[in-house]
Structures are given as C-alpha cells and as structure tokens.
Symmetry: C2
Subunit: 201 residues, 2 copies
Amino acid sequence: MAQTIAGPEIERLIQLLARLPGLGPRSARRAALHLIGRREQLLGPLADALAVARERITVCSACGNVDTSDPCTICRDPSRDPAIIVVVEGVSDLWALERAGAIRAGYHVLGGVLSPLDGVRPEHLSLDSLVARAGRPETKELILALSATVDGQTTAHYVTELVRHLPVTVTRLAHGVPIGGELDYLDEGTLTAALRQRTPF
Amino acid sequence: MAQTIAGPEIERLIQLLARLPGLGPRSARRAALHLIGRREQLLGPLADALAVARERITVCSACGNVDTSDPCTICRDPSRDPAIIVVVEGVSDLWALERAGAIRAGYHVLGGVLSPLDGVRPEHLSLDSLVARAGRPETKELILALSATVDGQTTAHYVTELVRHLPVTVTRLAHGVPIGGELDYLDEGTLTAALRQRTPF
C-alpha cells in the first residue's frame, strides 16, 4: 500500500507511531504527516528527545520509577519520609500521586497487578523487593494505592499476606465520593463505601 | 509538576508527544511510559525512524508530495498518465486515493484549501505551480479531488477560474451515496446530488 507511494522510510515511521497507545493506523498517518511538515519545530526535537531518552532514562533499581539516575530522584530525596512506602501499579500512578502532591514519601512500583485472565502472576511483579523494603527497620507503613478494581484489590490482599509477618502497618486509599462528583452519577458500590467510611463534619 | 519528579528529559519527551495530533497531555504521558518501557522494541526504532525522516524525507518540488526523492516516486513513474493531474488538499488525501488504487495519474498537492475564516488565502496555496503544470501541452485534465465542504468547493471554483483560459478539462469527484451507505442515514444534500447524478443501471 503506502510504502509503494511514499517510500519505506515513511511507512516504517507510520508503523512505529501506530504502536503508541492512543494512535491507530489512521491517526499514525496523520501524526507522521504532521511531523514531516514540522521538521525543525517538532520532528527534529522529538528525534533528539527520544535519542536522549534511549541513552539516559533508566528504571530505579530501588523503587521501579523511571528517571535519569539510579536510585531515582525520589529515592535520593532526604526530605521524604522514609517510614512510608506508597505501593503503586505503574509509574503513571506514581506521577498522578506526585501531581496531587499530597504525600512526601517513598514509592514502590509493582509493574502491574495480579490478573489470572491476563496471565499476570506474582513472579511478574516486583514483590520480593517490596517485602525486602517492608522488612527494613525504618519502614513503618505501606500505603496500597492500587486501583479499586478486582485485580487491584486481589493484589492488595496478596501484598498484605506477604508482609503479615513483618512489623509494618498496611493501609489503603479511602473509597468515597470523588471531589466534584455528583451523587446520582455514582455507582452503588462507591456510595455504600462512602456511607460506611463517613467522617465527622 | 512532573519535571521535578522524573527529570526534564522525560518532561520534554511528554511535551513533544503531546503536540502530535490525537495525543493530549494525558495520552502523551501514557505514550512516553509505553516508549520508556519498550526501549529496544519501540523507543530506539522510533528514534532511528525519526532521525532518518529528518535527514531524508523531502517535499517534491513538482507536486508537493512527501518522499525521499525529488521529484517524488509518483512524478518519476513512467507508467502514470501524464495527461491527468489529480488536485488534492493534502498529502493524506493523495495517500487515500493511492490506497484506493483507482487512478494512475499525477497529483498536485495544494497544501490546504481557501478559508477566509482560518485566514488561508490564495498565496498560501501552491496555485502558481498548478497553473504552470496545467498550461503544459501534455496536460489534458485536472481532477479536483477536494473535500465536499464549503471551503473545498470554494477552492474548486477558484482553481477552475484560474485555468479557464487554458485548453484543459476540469472535472471533480462525483457526489453520491457512499459504498455501504444506508439511505436513511444520509443527509438531504447527498441524496439530492445522488438523484441528480443518477446513472443507467
């Protein structure tokens, strides 16, 4: 198809762009043309940024965060509370919590949640290193910041069992009404949880 | 925000990805993490493909197509009918027509359509080179393959006026029922056009 028209270089670029989440074959073609039409402003800078990322970005061997240093900026930050480890599924969740800015603690990126359907088993997650960190004398609390899905909660229970023998407190995020949420759009599970965990006003 | 967490390199990558059509800030973050997690399979190859594109992809000085050679593969193809020039708004339209494989002719990419609202005036389009090509003795027909929008049809009329003094036939794409289209979902304009341009069965 297109490779006979515009050459294999453009076709290869389109195929790679189509493998990004959120882009399909059609939007990958649009993105490729967008890039080609903006060589100096976008195509070149993006090529450079990817080359830098390939060379310098690494996964933190302590917590699983991505950064240009190992241990990562968060793990090396002396202003963070070393007693608390926030356990997240992925780096995007870590970023979301950091954007919220609600806690200055350490993190542990599991690299997924247990999912029998998707074939994700305990050995696929960074659980051994989590148990090792949880067993250190300075660690007092694990906050399980996992999705409120079946797989997320299964993982939360699994982690809790793994560290039961350790003198560490395990907590999880509160369930309830999202800020700005309208009651009549919420599901019954959320409303039930919000009622059960009601707080003094 | 994120640059204080993961370093300026990742933040820069996210900002550039967010400038691709179809990706917003949130999906750009997902795409960046997707790339970082697939260094060998995707991040590296995409960095290379973009570097190749930056170096080698150029705009055909004859027709406006993008290719690694100038004139482009289509303009140099001796098997194409030199009497016919298909006039399109952009390279994506050229690609769409080539995927359909319905005609083996030359193309002319206008680089847009006239749009008073968006400030696109005749001097922004490659009209001079189109008139020059239309005036060559071998050119017999211009097929205006422009969108059936107000701006597209305004542009079609403008082009027709520009070449009126030349011995060249100007045609446009037929309007009608799309293949696979259901009548009761079509607008009245399309149905009227399909009735007016009805063909013997």
